[in-house]
Amino acid sequence: MTHLRNTWHLGIKEFRSLARDMALMFLIVFMFSASIYADARAKPESLNRASIAVVDEDRSLLSGRIIAALQPPQFIPPVHVGLADMDRGMDAGLHTFVLDIPPDFQRDVLAGRSPALQLNVDATRQGQAQTGAGYIQSIISDEVRAFVQRVRAPAPQPVELVARAMFNPNLEASWFAAINAIINNVTLLGILLTGAALIREREHGTIEHLLVMPVSALEIMLSKIWSMGVVVLVASSFSLQVMVKGVLGIDVAGSALLFGAGTLLYLFAAASIGIYMGTIARSMPQFGLMSILVLLPLQILSGGVTPRESMPEAIQTLMALAPTTHYVSLAQAILFRGAGVDVVWPAFVMVTLIGAVFLALAHHRLRRTIGAMQG
């Protein structure tokens, strides 16, 4: 009971401190509003505004149709370049695709000679390269078929393939980007706020003062975790309800309450990691570097950016130890696929377990470092 009360009062103190740091308050608000918006809006739909150039050596009706079909939003209207300029444009990164339509293309098509078009793809832009090449191929074959159909009927397809996407029928990337941005910001703030708050208390000597009072190290840690957790939880819920559903008009499938509960557990884990880092770093500059080294892999390798199953086995195993991985999976399940507790409970358990381990480690270290600090 005493423990709970102390934890409560110390947490209230954290709120008061935060309220006075205007720059930090501004950053938190910014991260969950403007930053989410920019991220979601900038994010192209799967293939968006791909830059393409055309070398039209045929200048026929058919080549004109093909070029006209390469339109926004998938493509920036194609620019015409000469054969000689083709390489330069690609080298400078101006064009991701260059389509070369050979001379006499239309005539050869109609004559049934099956002529080939050359499509140059900048393969260093991998994401666009593969989807874009697919798009262009299907556009060309549609156009050619439609053009030829007026002359002679083509053979029917023996089997049709109909692809539909569940949960996100149009495969809108902004949807994905907005949720992902919230996840990233929750991670960043969860770790930074608590870890930095601990280092600040150490640098200003106030933690030592607390420790001569009837307050335990665990209470100090838990007070930071719950208070900063509440701040981030409120900010992220606001972001989900107002920014994502309201301003961005994205339809979220699952239960916001369940997602909130998951976020709370995840914040506990992230804050425990932050505190643990705060006990390892001896100064704010060290903590800063350390946080980059931790945040970067958490953000990029947790399955939020690229699919986890495609990563090497070793990294998949390693990242299974990070709470972010489980949080991303539960967030995607709840928000995109409308999953319920029956589906996401293993992720909840993992996040809590990982958090508890880090909390125990941090508690152990905190007691030791306070002693060593005095020297």
Binding site: K43, V109, I292, E309
Partner: protein, 975 residues
């Protein structure tokens, strides 16, 4: 005990137990030019912080060539005035003329800056803690453009003069308070200033070091008689020895004149009493002499038995034995850094002793004993309450932590507010309060829960005399009326004299313990201070401090009648007998403005490089940061190079086969054979499909309709449905493309098998994947990871560069030395650029060796791009640092300012040209975008300067824009 009532040390004048030595008119040779123009002239100066007026229409002429003291309570504006005179603070209103020019004028400030030396308040505040004594002084010498030879000579002189020669290699943070102040003085004197400004230079310094400090000043003045010295001080006995005093109260001058003139004006024997007499009636705070009733011995409350504390090999505290009884005021004295604070921390249970034990109220202290903590009140040396909470909130928080019932807590807080005179400041933040009031608040917090024991670590350091007496009244009250046992450390000897018993400590051991009177008598001295110094000198070695030997009135050790620090009778340095005349420390007086001017180029590479050298040294001393920066980036590169992959492989899929015919199995086998897909257990129904996809187990499901085989045979074109998990659009897109490809191939084969002969497509498309023909993720990702890591790590390295100096106080050196903002910023940046380039080389080598990514283009172009890029990214960190005021905000700002644009908007995943809105514009100007182009251009496309010119230009532009923006935001003066 009644005999003590007659003891002047116990009942006597708060500060001076007896009148000082006969009035001293001059302690150093007063220059002939008494009629010289004033060195400082203030006219109608007004300065305000929020509600507080630090200068209220101040007009004052300060005579040149004198030692001028500013005396007065805390928070009346002394420090602000000195800051304004030094040019460290921005003038709000009025005119400040220093050394014959207006300090509002930037050019004048730049001109006189090298002639002024400023040592701010706080122990070693403007020093660099990880730098050694020598390196600190050397740094200041470089700032003033001195040559290597000149610096070496001057530093040797200064170190010899201050007795720091033996400690030249010791880092500043390992020095005691007294040594820090001496080092600060060395740094101030390296450039022969004409005006030396010292803000409370001896606060928190033990008596022996204080005596040495003033002796040093006196000798330096003897060598440079033209030098003016301005000092703010809380020690009235020190002020007795100055030439001219300014009594300050509430932003106004109360009186000026020689010490004897002030004493005469206040009709009093001592300066302190005179000062109090000069205060307006309501400001005297009903000051009266302190009476201490005798102490009746009670039971033992604090007991230490053979306490020892080791930090590694270093024994900080050894074999401490002491007993303190209930209600006793026990004084703990010793030189700076002798282990007092460590001992106190062991007595509070904050530190576990390495050996021995501490007993509190009969029970053994240990760190986990919460119950004993309730009975102790502790006040640490540094302010350790929450500066961001108001006074009331601080009290309230502690009341709650000690579980005072709400009603009782409210009454107690009201009572304490009245007793400690905090009523008017209850809703103010302690950060905005003067030290004296903050210390009262700390004491109020320490006694809030009515502890049995109070442990106070230098509670009155930096507190003005009147406030100090009030403080002692409270302490006496607590001890005698409430029976609280008090354990206190102090550097004020008159305070030590008020204790019931004191212990003298040196180098971790207790030298002697007894009543103050007995200790004084034991050394045959008249004053406790002399006895104390005698003990210390005896303990510190056979040979007395060489400093003391040469200092004015060396025979003080033999307990002369009285000691007043800069003693007129003995100064200046008795050049006849001493080894080195003091003038060696302070070379021939120079009023050589031309020489200064000559040195002061508007932009000096030497000054810039001195900042670089300092920053590099600090970085070298922090191996953790260095390791994190270098090793961390390699580890990250490994993890991310392998981890980020665009190849979507092993996608989990399952089949819902309603047909279960040979044809349908043949069809699905095709998909199973693809390396992109990994088949899972077949689906039973639509419900099963929904559930498994919802759980995230499937990225794709294939549904074969009933009658598939039959329809196929009849040419009825059955429809195969593919369900994709759309929650990851990129994955879904690729899966759709892959399955489409497999499907088309299947059809072609089926038709071929049916004997119709190969069908010829109407037209074919031949994709040529250029630069990375096998579409290897590694080849495309590794050149992208390098730019990413070269923005995060360099920006984070510099992100705290400026804001940390703001928090720790060394930013003052930028304000008060000739260094320009650009020199400061670029100087700080250079070492990090070098480190980042080294980082780049490491990553490049890793890329071509371990990852075996072919490098095809111009290495020179890549290296040049990297250099420009890291210059821009370190500049980005500095910009975040100048924008913010707290380290936490700088960290958060830098993280967001680099992670978001670099990962999302710079073309890592999607080319910038495909972005929209704000993201597009950020991507278009963000340096990472352009270095990404350069990196992938040189790595994969075999490009050089000519082809990549378009990417170099924005990088080139970003550098001056970032640097100038930081410079504009930095400011060359405090507000």
């Amino acid at each position: 005990m009644s005999d003590r009532h007659g003891d002047p040390a116990r009942t006597g004048a708060p500060l001076l137990s007896r009148p000082a030595s006969p009035p001293t008119t001059a302690l150093a040779p007063v220059p002939a030019a008494i009629t010289a123009p004033p060195v400082v002239r203030l006219a109608e100066v007004r300065h305000r912080y929020g509600e507080t007026l630090a200068a209220d229409g101040l007009s004052l002429d300060i005579p040149a060539g004198r030692m001028v003291g500013f005396i007065g309570p805390d928070g009346v504006g002394k420090s602000t005035w000195l800051g304004l005179i030094a040019g460290a603070r921005k003038i709000q209103h009025g005119k400040v003329e220093v050394l014959g020019g207006d300090m509002m004028d930037v050019r004048h400030r730049a001109r006189v800056c090298p002639r002024i030396a400023y040592m701010p308040q706080g122990l070693g505040k403007n020093l660099y803690p990880t730098l050694s004594v020598f390196e600190n002084i050397d740094f200041f010498g470089r700032l003033f453009g001195q040559t290597q030879a000149e610096r070496t000579r001057r530093i040797a002189d200064l170190l010899a003069a201050t007795g720091l020669t033996a400690f030249a290699e010791r880092p500043a943070n390992k020095l005691s308070g007294g040594m820090k102040q001496k080092l600060g003085l060395c740094c101030a004197l390296i450039h022969d200033p004409d005006l030396l400004i010292l803000d409370e230079p001896t606060t928190g310094v033990d008596p022996l070091s204080r005596r040495q400090f003033w002796a040093l000043i006196a000798r330096i003045r003897a060598g440079r008689p033209g030098m003016s010295v301005l000092i703010a001080t809380a020690y009235m006995e020190e002020a007795e020895g100055y030439d001219w005093l300014v009594a300050v109260d509430a932003g106004c001058v109360l009186a000026t004149g020689t010490p004897e003139a002030l004493r005469a004006a206040g009709r009093s024997d001592s300066l302190e009493d005179a000062f109090i007499a000069l205060l307006p009636e309501e400001r005297r705070r009903d000051h009266h002499r302190l009476e201490i009733p005798p102490h009746a011995a009670g039971e033992i409350v604090i007991e230490a038995r053979g306490l020892q504390m080791r930090f590694g090999d270093f024994v900080a505290v050894d074999d401490i034995n002491l007993q303190v009884r209930r209600g006793e005021i026990f004084g703990f004295l010793g030189s700076n850094g002798c282990g007092k604070s460590t001992t106190m921390k062991m007595l509070t249970g904050l530190l576990e002793p390495s050996a021995g034990e501490a007993l509190l109220l009969g029970s053994r202290l240990d760190a986990n004993n919460i119950a004993t903590r309730r009975r102790v009140g502790y006040m640490s040396q540094a302010f350790s309450l929450y500066g961001e909470l108001s006074v009331r909130q601080n009290l309230d928080l502690h009341a709650r932590l000690f579980e005072l019932p709400a009603a009782a807590a409210e009454a107690r807080i009201a009572d304490l507010a009245r007793r400690f005179d905090l009523g008017r400041v209850m809703d103010t933040q302690p950060d905005a309060l003067p030290l004296g009031i903050r210390q009262r608040l700390q004491l109020a917090v320490a006694v809030l829960h009515r502890p049995d024991v109070l442990i106070l670590d230098e509670p009155t350091s930096g507190v003005d005399p009147v406030a100090r007496d009030h403080f002692w009244e409270l302490i006496v009250d607590l001890s005698r009326k409430d029976g609280v046992t008090i354990f206190i450390t102090t550097h004020f000897m008159n305070e030590a004299g008020r204790c019931d018993r004191i212990s003298l400590m040196h180098a971790g051991r207790i030298l002697a313990s007894d009543t103050p009177a007995a200790l004084t008598a034991a050394r045959g001295c008249e004053r406790l201070e002399d006895a104390f110094i005698a003990y210390l000198e005896e303990a510190s070695g056979v040979a007395p401090d060489p400093e003391a030997e040469r200092m004015p009135g060396a025979e003080v050790r033999a307990c002369r009648r009285s000691y007043s620090p800069p003693d007129a009778t003995d100064t200046p340095c008795r050049s006849g007998g001493s080894r080195e005349p003091g003038s060696s420390a302070a070379p021939t007086p120079t009023s050589d403005t031309p020489r200064h001017a000559e040195r002061l180029a508007r932009f000096s590479l030497a000054r810039l490089l001195s900042f670089s050298a300092r920053e590099a040294t600090e970085l070298r001393r922090d191996p953790v940061r260095l390791t994190l920066a270098l090793l961390g980036s390699l580890v990250l590169m490994l993890v991310m190079g392998y981890g980020i992959t665009m190849d979507v492989e092993d996608l989990h899929y399952a089949v819902l086969d309603h047909d279960r015919s040979v044809a349908s199995q043949q069809y699905t086998l095709r998909i199973a054979g693809s390396r992109y897909f990994l088949e899972q257990a077949p689906l039973a129904s639509h419900a099963d499909l929904d559930a498994r996809m919802r759980a995230g187990g499937l990225a794709m499901a294939i549904e074969i309709p009933p009658g598939f085989g039959r329809d196929l045979a009849r040419g009825k074109a059955p429809q195969v449905a593919v369900w994709l998990d759309g929650s990851m659009p990129l994955r879904a897109e690729l899966a759709r493309a892959y399955v489409g490809g497999v499907h088309a191939q299947t059809l072609a084969d089926v038709i071929a098998e049916s004997g119709a002969g190969p069908v010829r497509a109407l037209a074919g498309v031949e994709p040529r994947y250029r630069y990375n023909p096998e579409l290897l993720s590694l080849v495309s990702m590794v050149p992208k990871v390098i730019p990413l890591l070269l923005v995060f790590i360099p920006a984070m390295l510099t992100a705290l560069g400026v804001v940390r100096e703001k928090e720790l106080g060394s930013i003052l050196n930028v304000y008060t030395t000739p260094v320009t903002r650009l020199e400061f910023l670029i100087g700080k940046q250079l070492p990090y650029i070098a480190l980042s380039m080294f980082n780049f080389v490491l990553m490049f080598v890793l890329a071509v060796t371990l990852f075996q990514v072919p490098f095809k283009g111009s290495l020179l172009a890549l290296a040049t791009g990297a250099l420009l890029y890291v210059t821009a990214t370190t500049g980005l960190g500095l910009l975040a640092s100048t924008l913010t005021n707290s380290q936490v905000a700088a960290l958060a700002g830098t993280s967001i300012g680099t992670l978001l644009p670099a990962i999302q908007f710079s073309g890592l995943m999607d080319p910038v040209s495909s972005l929209e809105g704000g993201g597009y514009w950020i991507g278009a100007i963000y340096p990472t975008t352009h270095f990404l182009t350069i990196a992938s251009g040189t790595f994969s496309k075999a490009l050089g300067f000519a082809e990549l010119a378009g990417a170099f230009l924005p990088l080139l532009l970003a550098i001056p824009v970032l640097t100038l923006l930081s410079a504009a935001l930095l400011g060359k003066q405090a507000k």
